[in-house]
């Protein structure tokens, strides 16, 4: 609905661009420092004794801003591009000097709790004010020039430069994941000892890794197309053999995974798995049927609480085993899905969202209240929920529960896949595109919608039941709105309606933050910024459904053609 010609992305040929983006960069770097991210992240080193994550963060921000400034400048004037990115780089780093100087004269700490001498020392690279500021300006100029030249290089060289740097960065950030995983494998432990020091990569390791990745990407960009083409030319049978063997290896890896990863990472995997279950359930409601449900956590809670009530000896109503409670929990989920679905049948869009949000809250508040305490345990929750057992084997450790969740995920993925191409699946998608047209084509909206709610709720209840037996206790506080919002976000980040997308989304939004736990304070900050950036840059999701990608693509094509006709008519 934009009526003006979009002049935001049109490159401009003046120094104003550099000044403007530089100002944004200045605000960004100061904000990063004052929020405390620089100080907190500086404890983890990317390359041992050379660069810490805090400094890397600032460098990254500076590079990004300078690159952006170069991109906004008119392409014909090469020198201007360099000047603009230089200005942006210097402004981004220079603002930090300003911050430090200001901090020396005024007690900033009475307002901004992170403006400590430690931070100032970090910002000046431990060099004192004069030398430090000179160094900062120099670094700013360097990253400005670096980003400017990066922009001017052809895409292939740009890629070969960025990829090694980003992989070193990634290896440094994820060192806690990589180091234990690598050292668990006999021969690879030598490699990991050589690559990593106690904190950060070793210098030689980092250089080797960068060279390795750089050469690899160069090789792939020159030879990769040939390999892909050869794959395409293989006979159908051979290709099928390759896909099936790949699939088998995948299953095998999935089965082995907890033994390779150890306790902590298995725990992370189980959490991600529970979210995948939730996501696949909500994917049916939101992704397939297009009904935005923000109260989805209610069914998760219902599944968990049903299991708890049926199995826990603490309340003493029933003493079922996990396996006999599970079908009842799922059934309860389905029934409540239908019951809560009925009142919202006629609502659309935001009204549906807010009504379901209300339902989710009502359920949580009811569970929390003293009124239902004799039955649901109130704020103390229900404890002593027995673990699931098969024979004498108990699903107690995260490594064991992983298999339970894996089985659940496989089942749910299978059902989702089958549903997607079924009659009902197509009815859901028709309803998502246009309810009125779908109804006109003879789709019974009531039963179709209720089926979507019921299926989604059933999956969610399954997830809840496993969650209850995993933790051994349930508390009302585990079931707040944030879970619903998280699940909606992971579906959309992954790509609406796409099953692999849900998994990618769950790993990105739930798995990654778990791995970076020591930065827990900034987890949601980064999460929020990533969500916004994601929606601005890649709204179709990380792994979109093929149809949806095509649709979005078509739309943009149509738009550009329309815009160009508009421009010519003007």
């Amino acid at each position: 609905m934009s009526h003006k010609k979009q002049n935001r992305s049109v490159p401009i040929s003046s120094l104003v661009v550099g000044l403007k983006t530089g100002l944004i960069g200045a605000i960004l770097t100061v904000l990063l420092s004052l929020i405390g991210m620089v100080e907190a992240f500086s404890q983890r080193e990317i390359i041992h004794e050379i660069i810490s994550m805090g400094h890397a963060l600032l460098l990254l921000a500076g590079c990004f801003i300078a690159y952006f400034s170069a991109k906004r400048t008119l392409l014909e004037k090469k020198s201007l591009i360099l000047v603009n990115s230089l200005i942006a780089g210097i402004l981004s780093s220079g603002s930090l000097i300003l911050l430090v100087v200001l901090g020396h004269f005024v007690n900033l700490r009475s307002v901004f709790i992170n403006a400590s001498p430690v931070l100032f020392n970090l910002l000046l690279l431990g060099q004192g004010i004069e030398k430090g500021s000179l160094l900062l300006i120099l670094i700013g100029a360097l990253i400005g020039l670096f980003s400017g030249t990066l922009y001017l290089f052809p895409a292939r060289i740009r890629k070969a430069m960025v990829l090694p740097l980003s992989s070193v960065l990634l290896a440094g950030v994820l060192q806690d994941l990589l180091r234990p995983t690598l050292s668990a494998w006999g021969p690879l432990s030598k490699l990991s000892d050589w690559l990593f020091t106690a904190n950060g990569l070793s210098l030689s390791g980092a250089i080797t890794l960068a060279l390795f990745i750089g050469i690899g990407s160069h090789f792939w960009s020159s030879k990769g197309k040939g390999i892909q083409e050869r794959m395409k030319n293989l006979s159908l049978r051979k290709r099928r053999i390759i896909t099936y063997s790949g699939f088998l290896i995948l299953i095998f890896l999935l089965l082995l995974l907890p033994h390779l990863l150890g306790l902590f990472l298995s725990e992370v995997l189980t959490i991600v798995g529970l979210y995948i279950l939730l996501g696949l359930g909500l994917n049916i409601v939101v992704g397939y049927a297009g009904l935005l449900d923000l109260g989805y956590v209610a069914f998760f809670a219902i599944g968990a609480y049903t299991t708890a009530i049926l199995t826990s000896p603490e309340l003493g109503f029933f003493h079922l085993s996990f396996w006999s409670a599970l079908p009842i929990a799922i059934l309860m989920g389905i029934v409540s899905g239908v019951l809560l679905g009925i009142p919202v049948l006629k609502m659309r869009g935001d009204y549906l969202a807010i009504a379901t949000l209300g339902f989710g809250e009502i359920i949580r508040i009811l569970v929390l209240s003293d009124f239902l305490r004799p039955w649901l345990g109130g704020a103390q929750g229900i404890g002593k929920i027995p673990k699931a057992t098969i024979g004498s084997f108990e699903f107690a450790r995260p490594q064991d529960i992983y298999y339970l969740i894996l089985a659940g995920c496989l089942l749910v993925v299978f059902i989702s896949l089958r549903l997607k191409d079924s009659r009902i699946g197509r009815a859901w998608m028709a309803m998502r595109e246009d309810e009125d047209v779908a109804q006109a084509m003879g789709i019974n909206l009531v039963s179709t919608k209720l089926l979507a709610f019921a299926t989604g709720a059933g999956f969610s209840a399954l997830s809840g039941a496993i969650f209850a037996s995993k933790l051994g206790s349930v508390y009302p506080h585990s079931f707040n709105v944030m879970i619903s919002i998280n699940v909606v976000c992971l579906i959309i980040v992954g790509g609406m309606g796409s099953i692999p997308g849900v998994m990618v989304g769950a790993f990105a939004l739930v798995g990654l933050p778990e791995l970076l736990r020591e930065f827990a304070e900034y987890r949601l900050l980064v999460y929020g910024a990533a969500l916004v950036a994601m929606m601005l840059l890649k709204p179709e999701g990380l792994w979109p459904e093929a149809i949806r990608r095509r649709e979005l693509h078509e739309e943009s094509e149509e738009k550009t053609s329309r815009e160009s006709t508009e421009e010519t008519s003007v």
Partner: protein, 353 residues
């Protein structure tokens, strides 16, 4: 005749009516039982109503931002609760400085004005930036995408404030002239509640007349009616949308200071619950409808403060006040079931959504 009614009534409709009737019957039964039991005197009810009005008028002010933004962009601005939080949080430092220098006791009214202005400027600034950075590039995107962006922006803002100012509660300084109470015969009025109600009423009136009577207000209404046509009439649509965010932000900032004065503290997460409540209020009144948002806010505030004791107390429910949010949300669901467009809304839920 009967035949026709039977044709129009579907099973789901009947179930909905049954649910509604049961809930209504329970409410009436509870109310009668409470009144008969006479656990609460007239004083109590009076206190409940005043508290409900104070809370409700704050909700109404926040709801204005939701409803106006929904009017022009047709999106739920999830980050509005952070716009609400940012104002009083920033103004807290001004207030603390006034307090420690003793100015707050010497010139309380002037200081309060400054606090309000600072909060309103911060909130509207944040709202403006939010629209500019996060929402404007997404005007043509499918509906879900701005919603997710808003959720992301909301997290981001919350944790930026947490990072900048810390995760603890900051105690808002006590303003002496707002303490104490007035007594009228048997009834007593807490001063700050009265002042909150008056200030909110004043602001709401100002806002309403701005929207109804000024040229800019007219333009905003035109944009929320039909963007294309408004554009053709020579209205700068982008600017009007920005203005809407700024005005909504100002209302939220003022509401935030009132809220902080009422509960005497600020926290980076303080916006979440009032934000959801205010959105509920906006939907109750009919989203996109400005008088509706005011009415919905006050209605919600009253229901929350009277409801637990009136409806649930008589039913013998333990600790009914814990269920006040459940009552608020049940109210919302009931209104959405029986009048999907809200109390004053047009039939928007079906037509435009």
């Amino acid at each position: 005749m009967l035949q026709r009614i039977r044709e129009r009534l579907t099973l789901t409709d009947m179930i909905m009516w049954v649910i509604g009737a049961v809930l209504l019957a329970m409410m009436t039964w509870g109310s009668i039982a409470t009144i008969k039991a006479e656990t609460y005197t007239l004083h109590h009810w009076f206190d409940f109503i005043i508290f409900g009005l104070a809370q409700g008028s704050i909700y109404a002010l926040i709801a204005m931002g939701y409803t106006m933004v929904y009017g022009v962009l047709r999106m739920i601005n999830f980050a509005h609760s952070e716009v609400f939080m940012s104002g009083p949080y920033t103004a807290y430092y001004v207030a603390a400085a006034f307090y420690s220098s003793g100015l707050l006791d010497q010139y309380p009214i002037l200081c309060l004005m400054v606090i309000f202005v600072v909060a309103m400027i911060t909130s509207s600034g944040i709202a403006f930036l939010l629209e500019r950075v996060a929402y404007r590039p997404l005007r043509t995107a499918p509906r879900l995408i701005p919603l997710i962006t808003a959720i992301g922006a909301s997290f981001f803002l919350q944790y930026v404030f947490r990072g900048l100012f810390g995760s603890g509660f900051q105690a808002y300084p006590v303003v002496k002239i707002l303490e104490g109470e007035w007594t009228f015969g048997e009834f007593r009025l807490l001063k700050f509640q009265v002042i909150v109600i008056l200030a909110a009423a004043l602001l709401l009136a100002a806002l309403y007349s701005f929207i109804q009577q000024t040229k800019v207000g007219k333009a905003i209404r035109a944009v929320s009616e039909d963007k294309e046509t408004a554009y053709l009439m020579g209205i700068d649509v982008d600017r009007m949308i920005s203005t809407t965010f700024v005005i909504g932000g100002m209302a939220a900032g003022a509401a935030g200071v009132l809220y902080a004065l009422m509960f005497k503290q600020v926290h980076f997460f303080m916006g979440f619950i009032p934000g959801i409540k205010a959105f509920t209020a906006a939907v109750l009144g009919g989203i996109g409808n400005i008088p509706g948002a005011m009415l919905g806010g006050i209605f919600l505030g009253l229901i929350e403060s009277i409801g637990p004791s009136l409806f649930l107390g008589g039913l013998g429910i333990v600790a009914p006040y814990q269920l006040k949010d459940a009552i608020a949300f049940t109210m919302l669901v009931l209104v959405l079931i029986f009048r999907p467009t809200g109390i004053l809304g047009e039939r928007l839920a079906v037509k435009k959504a």
